[in-house]
Amino acid sequence: MSSILNSAISGLLASQRSLSTVSHNISNVNTEGYSRQRVELASNNPQRIGPGYVGRGVTVDDITRIADDFVISQLRVSTTSTSEADAFLQLASRLDNMLADADTGLSPSLQNFFAAVQDVNDLPSSVTARQVMISEAQSLVERFQFLDQRLTSLGDEVRNMLNEDVATINNLANAIANINSRIVEATGLAGGAPPNDLLDQRDQMILELSELVSVNTIPQNDGSVNVFIGKGQPLVIGNQPSKIGVSETYDGHYEVTITDKYFSSVISDSITSGSLGAALSFQSEMLEPARNALGRMAIGLAETFNDQHRLGMSLDGDVDTPFFKVGTPTIYGLNGAPTVASAAITDVSSLTDSDYQLVYNGGNTYTLTRLTDNKTTTIDTGGSWPYTSADIDGFNLTLSTAGSVGDQYIVRPTMAGSTGMSVLISDPRKLAVAAPLKASAATDATGTSTNLGNALISEPTTTRTDGVAMLGVPLAADIDLTFTAPAAAVQNDSALSGIHSTSVATGGGEEYTIVVDGITAFSYTAGGAGDDVTAAEIDAGLLANAGALNAAGIIYSGSAVGGDLQFSRVDGASFDIDVTNTMTGTAGGFAGADLATGTNTVNNGSVAVAGSFSYTSPAPGGTLAYDPATENAGKSFTIALNANESVTFTISGFPQDGDAFSISNNNGAAGDNRNGLLLGALQNMQTLINGTASYQDAYGQIVAEVGARTRQTEISSQALEVLKQQAFEARESVSGVNLDEEAANMLRFQQSYSAAAQMITVADNLFNSLIDAVR
């Protein structure tokens, strides 16, 4: 009988426990991280009676927590990657939106600036148009700086995010260490039975931790769990938490450190996932490249615009004035390493958007590493300090002294490009829209050209070695080019200057002949001693032969009496003049030189045939060969003004002997827009990124990179969200509470409770029957 009662009581108790567990489950249906519990029942050991064993009721064997460690760790892993993608996406979208907005992007300012340049070209004398161009330039600079500042403040946000994440991690680490010790204690008290709800709480904390950083756990025998983050950095060992911190590095980065009882070390490199990893990688993969690329564009624009602007001339005649102030490279020394290096931009088109690390190797060498791809360059100073290196990616380094071995520097060539930019010109008259030199034909006092030929000279352009002050312009003196006609353009002529009458016949029969190009022009035979040839006789003789000479295409001019005979061929070909003299004395001279007795030949071919322009200034002067017959379509000439500067122009057409051109300072040319046109043309010229990109393209590249990265993160974030959802479903499927199930269980346990209670009534009845029987 008592066995009936005992057994019924055990059933009552078991149902009660089960019902209270159902109640616990129902109450925690919305508790995050809660795993449903189940009462495990077992029948009590039976009692042996004669023929066999009789049951002794039920006992609560265990209250188990329905959880699957594999499913939980799956959920953690997918939580980590999802929250990494989400955090990255959140930051990247900020950048993405910033570049998308027409009001905040760079494009409109760039376009407005160049439109203003064109407006100045339309009306170079208008101070208003010039003022607008300066204002637009200022807006452009402000836009660069605004964007740069937005990037900097995004950097601040990254720092805040790191700080918040780190604070949360530290809180969670403390809580996990704390709950570890409570679990160990509770497990001990319960003789090894797990404190289910504490385990759930701990799992939930670890799940929260896995949002911030990737987590690995190793359960210990005493019920505690050791937690490792990143690539195995211990965060919690038993009841001992480590401490995580954020610090700013020497070059303006933020990095994460971990401090346990003994050590503090930097673990940024191993934190690659979770929202903490996202903040770190956003900083190094998007933010800094974008800032460097923007700076590179600012430097490129300022430098190329300056180069052209310097070549122009302002309304007041200034040359060599820069338009923009250009940002300079930044160098950070690690741990207060002394400043031994400075960097300067040398070629804007070769600049990259990378940062560089400079390490002193000892001796004379430094190693420069490009951080995007770890390409290294060794700089050997050869022992001379200061030493300026060759160009590396568009900049050079000047190393002033040797440092201590291992000194490290970070060189950021373009980071400060935007902040360092400004407009240097505030006076509209100082815009160099005109070209400094002009070319014109020689004129008389009335401004009328004195040139007789139809030759034209192009407007001159000046060039200079980059980075050297302009000294040659304005010109100290005009460059006057005077044309000396080529022999062919006028005539081939040979001067028989000074046909003398000093030829003396001593006996008679001596001969004096002048043969021009094979035609006898004059011939005289002395009739006797003293019958000398006179100039008048030469003139008469030539006149007699004029017909024969003309027929052969030879004409002559001047007279022997006048002392200057000239022969020429009408076709301009070269020819010989043979003067034979067998008389005593001189035969007369060619070009001032007297000829000796005998046959003397003047080969006209020795006369220069091409024409040339000669000039005396700039010293030492010179001649520029120009043959109108073959070069009338235009020939380009370059005259060096000094070692670094030269002026280039083109002459075309047919100049006449004595025609002159003058290259002079372009004074008072308020309407000149030649340099302005060249400045305007820069807009579409591919001057940046190794000559592959215009200004707009360079900006487009930044936009495309940010857009592509954001898009990529967006897509992976969606995919990861699905995975996380699946992991969550899997966990819920195992551990989640189903109210319908609980309702069913409730009914079940309610019924078993009622039945057990009924058994007690039965036992009571039995007992009463027995009592009644013996009463």
Binding site: V29, A92, S93, D96, N97, L99, S107, Q111, F114, A115, Q118, D119, L123, P124, S125, K438, A439, S440, A441, T443, A445, T446, G447, T448, S449, T450, N451, L452, G547, I555, S557, V570, Q656, G668, A669, A670, G671, D672, N673, A681, Q683, Q696, G700, Q701, V703, A704, V706, G707, A708, T710, R711, F728, E732, S733, S735, G736, N738, L739, D740, A743
Partner: protein
């Protein structure tokens, strides 16, 4: 599979949130009219959009530049037309003045009108555009280009600059012509040579300015020529021609320059070395004319020459009259040259205006093309988006309804 209560609440909610997000996306596209709202929507498209927008903006600027160039060229064209009208009147007067029956008073009256016309011509040459820039001053737009010096000559103070404007990426158009090319550097005489009477001539010969009939032989030996009148071997007035290089040309050597000089016939033409000219009137032995290569002279100076000729008192002395008439002849030829030169400039201006018009329409169609490409890349197809919006609305409603239905089911309700 076992499903937890929490799970299906969550999933239902997620579905609704998902549908809402998609709906918001379509709604943004419709509201902004753009498919591409941020670079990440289509990174390649975003860069294309930037490039296209820049192309649009530069094309707009080219159109603006074209307007500037067109305005200046139109003004130049109108000004040059006025110059030519004026020159035509001057020419009429010159022809009238070349009539030997006119009295001094008549000529003087004509001289007055030419003087006025000359002032008008100078005024036209000093035209300023709407921006107060001198049209014909080259780059020196703020300097009055044409002024008269105290000695009466006309001086050009501009320069040779010819400003260009960018009207397309690869094309610049010259928006003005320097005044010296238009008005100053004109060849005097007939363009190749000019014939001037010796001031000491005593006959009343009038020579015409002649022409080059054989360019090859004219340019074979550039030189000056002197045509002299002599009494020849026949006792008549004859003429000879001597070149500064060739020496005696007519009569051809070895004939004697004086004795063998051909007889002078009034109204006959003479030719030598590719030059042809002719005389009228009665020359006196000892008279001479010089044939010299043309040099540059300004249009103003040519017109001034006419004024001088018309103002010459001819009185009764025929000699003076022939001097005046020779000068008028010379000036007439030069005015024709100036007219011709301005016609050439006007032709070039007209061609440039045509180029601008062509370029403007090319730019216009380029812009339309850019606009449509831009629209293809960036803009949303509203019809498509509207359909999409509708289908997402339906999906959202379905998600909401199913959520509400599922949530209503609970075993506890039946206990």
């Amino acid at each position: 599979m076992r499903v937890s209560t929490n799970f299906y609440v969550q999933r239902g909610l997620n579905n609704i949130l998902d549908q809402q997000y998609k709906l918001a996306e379509v709604q943004e596209q419709i509201a902004s009219g753009k498919r591409l709202n941020r670079p990440s929507d289509d990174p390649t498209g975003a860069t294309q959009v930037l490039r296209l927008e820049q192309a649009m903006s530069t094309t707009d600027q080219f159109q603006r530049n074209s307007d500037y160039a067109r305005n200046r060229l139109t003004l130049e064209e109108a000004t040059l037309k006025n110059v030519q009208d004026s020159l035509l009147r001057v020419r009429e007067i010159a022809v009238q003045g070349a009539n030997s029956t006119l009295s001094d008073t008549d000529r003087y009256a004509l001289a007055q009108e030419v003087s006025e016309r000359l002032k008008e011509l100078v005024g036209l040459a000093n035209t300023r555009d709407a921006n107060q820039e001198y049209l014909f001053a080259g780059y020196k737009v703020n300097t009055q280009p044409f002024t008269q010096a105290s000695d009466g000559t006309y001086i050009y103070s501009g320069d040779h600059g010819e400003r260009s404007l960018q009207i397309s990426t690869g094309r610049q158009i010259q928006d003005s012509d320097a005044g010296n090319d238009v008005f100053m550097n004109l060849k005097n005489g007939n363009g190749a040579f000019q014939i001037t009477a010796n001031g000491a001539n005593t006959g009343d010969t009038i020579i015409n300015q002649g022409q080059v009939i054989d360019p090859a032989s004219y340019s074979a030996t550039p030189q000056d020529y002197t045509i002299s009148f002599v009494t020849n071997g026949n006792g008549n007035v004859g003429y000879n021609v001597v070149g500064s290089v060739d020496g005696q040309i007519i009569p051809a050597p070895p004939l004697d320059a004086t004795l063998d000089a051909p007889d002078y016939v009034s109204g006959a033409t003479i030719q030598f070395n590719g030059v042809e000219t002719g005389f009228n009137g009665t020359p006196q032995p000892g008279d001479s004319f010089a044939v010299t290569a043309s040099t540059n002279e300004s249009m103003f100076s040519s017109v001034q020459k006419l004024v001088t000729a018309l103002e010459m008192p001819t009185a009764s002395v025929g000699v003076n009259e022939s001097e005046a008439l020779n000068l008028i002849n010379q000036s007439l030829v030069e005015i024709d040259n100036a007219f011709e030169n301005i016609t050439q400039v006007r032709t070039s201006v007209g061609a440039r205006l045509k180029t601008i018009d062509d370029q403007v329409s090319v730019n216009e169609s380029y812009k339309i093309e850019l606009q449509s490409t831009l629209s293809n890349i960036r803009d949303v197809d509203i019809a498509e988006a509207a359909v999409e919006l509708q289908s997402r609305l339906v999906a959202l409603e379905a998600a909401q309804q199913s959520y509400a239905r599922v949530q209503g089911l609970n075993l506890f309700d039946f206990i």
